[in-house]
Every structure is written in structure tokens, then in C-alpha cells.
């Protein structure tokens, strides 16, 4: 019994990790007022670049770096479209998701002549049975909370997300802060992707983000746009994921599909105010135009 509980606990922490780091990324972006539904694509691109780099260099750490850079680059693109050109943030996010999905499938073909997955690659080391990246991810989540709530840059980010015009008036560069938030969201979701291909598995498989980018978005909302809240929500979603695997082994009466549904149902309920009011940053999703006053 004790061993079952312990393994459930560890599985929860592991399953929550990629969702958590991506949710932290989402928080960085949305706190500054930019909605990023391209997280799914940034994660996928991160997973792919990480695996490919690890394959060619033999160094999984180089892979992690590549994953973060490629996620950051896609996010930069999202920034150009939605901050500089004030395009529709949702459209840009969707386009990024489609691009990442197409690009990774295409490059699998070109590089490895495979349509489903990459060859096995060098994996990250483990510590007490968990990938070392899991520890790093939780550490980043806590640091992110301190960063957003205790530093001057964090205060500026929140100011830009709540009232960009007021922030601009006191001399904060709204565009720069938003670029920072968005690029951080890509870097962190790229890291989440790298965990999938180098921490959880040792290869890239087609579409391996499997909706986690969207779950991360849900976790951020559920966590009320705060990193600490995201940790809680991600653990809850991770538990649903881990619990379902266990339930399938021991309880045959509940179809696993209903358990897999729970994160999404919970998010809907949370948004509907059943679990407490979730309030987004006031300027979330609003493009800012300096000359628009």
C-alpha cells in the first residue's frame, strides 16, 4: 500500500512537470497582457529541437538549450505579430501551433526518413529515480513566483498587463516588457518540450506535446495567473493523469476516459466561478498602441 501511494506521488510530480513549466511560461506572457495559445506548438518545437540536438551532439544538455532557444524563437515571432503589428493574438498562436506541427513532421521525414518518431537519443541523467529536469522545473517555478511578485521587473510586468497606458506614462517600455514576457513563455515551454523528449522519453515522437500546451494554459487559469497557483493546478492535473494509470490497473469499473476528462471539466468549472472567481490581468489580450491615445 505504502509503495503504491509513493509511486502515485512520484508519478504525479513527474507528470505535472512539463505542464507546470509551460504554465509558468504562460504566466510570464499573460501577466504582461499577451495571450499565448501557441504554447502547444512551442512545446512541440522544443521537444523536437532538443531531441535532434541531443542526437547529433550526444549531449542532452545541449538539447535542452536548443529546445529553449527554438521555443523562444517561435515566441519571438508571436511577439512580432501580436506586439509590433498588433495582430490577433489567437490567430498568431494558432498559426504557430500549425507551423510547429507541420515543421516537426516534415523534418522527421527529411532528417531521419521516419514519419512517426526520431531514433533514440541521449537522455538526461536522473536523480532518485526522476529526471534531473524535474527538480530544475520546480525550482524555476518557485523562482518565477519570487521574480514576478518581489522584483522591480516583475512589478513592471504586472503593471503593463493591468494598465499599459499608465505604465507607459511612468516611463516603462510597454513593448520591451511584453517581448520579455512572451519570449520567456516560449523559452519555458521549449524547456517543457525538452523534458518530454529527453527527460520522460529518449526520443521525439510525432505530436508528443499531445495537448499539454493547452492543459498548461488551463493550469495557469486554474492557478489564477500566478506561478504558485500554477504549481497547485499542475499537480492536480498530474495527479489526474497518474491516478488514471493506477485506476486502470486496479479499478475496472470507471472508464479511463472520464478521468482524463477531469482537468478540462475542472477548468470549465473554475472559469464559471464555481471554484472561485478567476480574474485575468485587465489588459490581457489587448494590443497596445503608443499612438492610440
Amino acid at each position: 500500500m505504502v509503495s503504491i501511494i509513493l509511486s502515485l506521488l512520484l508519478a504525479t510530480i513527474r507528470q505535472a512537470a512539463p505542464i507546470l513549466i509551460t504554465a509558468i511560461g504562460a504566466t510570464f506572457s499573460e501577466v504582461t497582457g499577451v495571450v499565448n495559445i501557441g504554447l502547444e506548438g512551442m512545446m512541440l518545437m522544443g521537444a523536437f529541437s532538443a531531441a535532434v540536438t541531443s542526437f547529433y551532439t550526444g549531449s542532452p544538455w545541449a538539447g535542452v538549450l536548443a529546445g529553449m532557444i527554438s521555443g523562444g524563437l517561435l515566441a519571438w515571432l508571436h511577439g512580432i505579430l501580436s506586439i509590433k503589428y498588433r495582430g490577433n493574438q489567437i490567430v498568431s498562436g494558432v498559426a504557430i501551433n500549425l507551423f510547429a506541427s507541420g515543421f516537426t513532421i516534415f523534418m522527421l521525414r527529411v532528417l531521419f526518413h521516419q514519419s512517426g518518431n526520431s531514433p533514440a537519443v541521449a537522455k538526461l541523467p536522473t536523480l532518485f529515480g526522476m529526471s534531473i529536469l524535474v527538480y530544475i522545473i520546480y525550482a524555476i517555478a518557485i523562482l518565477a513566483h519570487i521574480f514576478i511578485y518581489k522584483t522591480v521587473t516583475g512589478l513592471r510586468m504586472r503593471a503593463v498587463g493591468e494598465h499599459p497606458l499608465a505604465a507607459d506614462t511612468v516611463g516603462i517600455d510597454v513593448y520591451k516588457i511584453r517581448y520579455f514576457g512572451v519570449i520567456m513563455s516560449g523559452v519555458l515551454s521549449g524547456l517543457g518540450g525538452a523534458y518530454l523528449s529527453l527527460g520522460a522519453l529518449a526520443q521525439f515522437t510525432k505530436g508528443m506535446s499531445a495537448g499539454r500546451g493547452f492543459i498548461a494554459l488551463a493550469a495557469m487559469i486554474f492557478g489564477k495567473w500566478t506561478p504558485i497557483g500554477s504549481i497547485g493546478a499542475s499537480l492536480l492535473f498530474g495527479f489526474a493523469d497518474a491516478g488514471q494509470t493506477l485506476l486502470q490497473q486496479y479499478v475496472k469499473s470507471i472508464p479511463p476516459q472520464f478521468i482524463q476528462m477531469t482537468p478540462y471539466l475542472l477548468t470549465l468549472l473554475a472559469l464559471a466561478g464555481v471554484v472561485g472567481k478567476a480574474v485575468a490581468p485587465a489588459a490581457d489580450g489587448q494590443p497596445y498602441d503608443k499612438n492610440d491615445i
Binding site: V91, S101, M261, A272
Partner: protein, 346 residues
Amino acid sequence: MNNKLKEALIPVLSVFIAMLIGGGVIAYLGKNPFTAYMYLFQGAFVGKREIAQTLLMSTPLIFTGLSVAFAFKAGLFNIGSQGQMVAGGLAAVAVAAFVKTPLISNVVIAIIAAAAAGFIWAGISGWLKAKLGVHEVISTIMLNYIAINFEQYLLNYPFKEGGVAGPSPVTPPISAASKLPSILPPTSLNFGFIIAILAAITIWYILEKTVLGYEIKAIGFNPTASENAGINVVWGVVLAMGISGILAGLGGAERVLGGIGQDRYISGLMASYGFDGIAVALLGKNNPFGIIVAAILFGALRAGAMKMQFLAGVPSQIIIIIQAVIILLVASENMFKALLNRKKVS
């Protein structure tokens, strides 16, 4: 340059630039882009079978494209066409494969069931938005995943065909009376394509010629002003999402009843049509007839990709890249506008 022309120029330019980029990638792979594109074109348009295939591939995209565009007119971003399509397809197969009474188990009833399921599934998001202020982008994404899990449940348990094991569960085949007839035998191009065209005309008519269309557009422009002008905004939002869902639901019905999934609902049958619908709506500039053209373009890319892969040796996945670049470019229309305007100044 006048604004109307500029509006129309952006999608055309986007497609052109994306094809150029695609050509560059093909050349980089050491293949001849002209040969590749020639086979792509032949595979999509030269021959009865090829044209039928192109139109067949474009049919669900017309439905989901219209679905996204209609919601958009009311200022709503429906990312949930996927889930609504699944809901529609499941409702259609529930009637078509499981109801045995001759009066009820026919194609018309199955289509009505699919439309109703799509209406309800999207209506939930509309209601959550209008009543509780839940952003429709998040609620529709969540409902997509709920629908997909529900699909897996139904296909694995109550709807599962007896005795068929394996990782990809399927339903029993639909009854003969519920099949959408072919309009170009012996190809699989079915009556669903005609329904899609009729749907586009209907949507155009609703938006341009009816009070409902006017109210929906008014809500899209300014919900507060519409409320003050006496428009029932809550009902308008639910209805706009609901009609959007009906369109996606019809798309789901076409996939099941049109013989695409071997006349049954196969796991994953709805693929990524929902998200592709967003692309189609964007490229078609939310205009019903523009959407037909955009859907046929995407359908042609898919239909021609196989021939290009076989005869030119270019991986068919290149078309996903071309498609993604098209959307990225259309999404950056403000960038185009900035560039076009700058030229005029200098």
C-alpha cells in the same frame, strides 16, 4: 491602392509567398520545385478522380471554415469546431449505425441529429460566455478535449463494434439508408459537398439579408451598444455560437455518412479539421465564398500531395508547411499593410 483591393491582395500574396518558400525548401532538398508543383497540380485537378478527391478533401474544411467565420462575425473566436464536429459525427453515427427503425434511421434524421449535437456543444460555450463571462477560446478548447475523450469512451464501450479488438476502436457500419449518395460515381465525392455549398449560401444570406444577421454583426461590433439598442445579446451570442456549431456538426456528419471512414466512425476520423477551419476562415477573409475558394485550395494541396510524393520524391508533409506559412502570413496582415503603406509614401 484602395482598401478593398488591398484586403483581397493579402490572401493572394500570402499563398504566393508560401508557395515560393515551399519551392525553396523543395529545391534545398535537391528536387525540382517546378516538377513537384506540376505533379501537385496534376494530382489535384487533372482528371475526374483527382477533382473529386480535391472537392472531397475540401468539404469538411468548408464546414469548419464557415463555422469559425460565422462565430467571428459575432466577435466570437470559436476554436471548438473540432469538438463540435466530433459531437456531430457521434450523433450522426448513433442514428445511422444503431437505430434500426426504418422511419428514423435515414440520412436526413442523422444529419439533423448531428446539427443538434453541434448546436448544443457550441451553445455551451456561448452560454458560458454570455452568462458568466467565460472566454470562449478557453471554453471551446476545453470542450474539444472533453469531446475527444467522450469519443474515445463511446468508441471503446457503448458504440464499439462487437468482437473488434485493437488499438483503434470503430463503430459498426452505418445503415444503407443513412449514406450520403455519391454525386460523381464511382468516386466518393458525395452529396455532403452540395450541402457545404448550400450552407455557404445560407450563411451569406443570413449575414447579409436578415435581421438575425444584422444583430449578430452588431453584437460583433459593439455588444454594449447592441444591448442598449434592444438586442438580446445573451441569446444572440448563444445563437451565433450555436449556428457555428451546427456548421461544424454537419461537417462531422459528412465524414461519417459520406463514406470517408468506410461508412462508420473510426477513432480520430475528425483529424485536425477544426484548426484547419480557422486557417480557411482567415484565408477566405470570413466571406462564405472566399471560404469555399480557400477550402478548395487546401483540399487541392492535400489531394495533390500524394502524387507529388510518388512522382517527384518530395515528402507530402511539405504541404503542411506551406499551409502553416500561409496562415502565418495572413495572420500578419498588419505587417503587409504597413509595408504596402510605406511603399506609397516613398
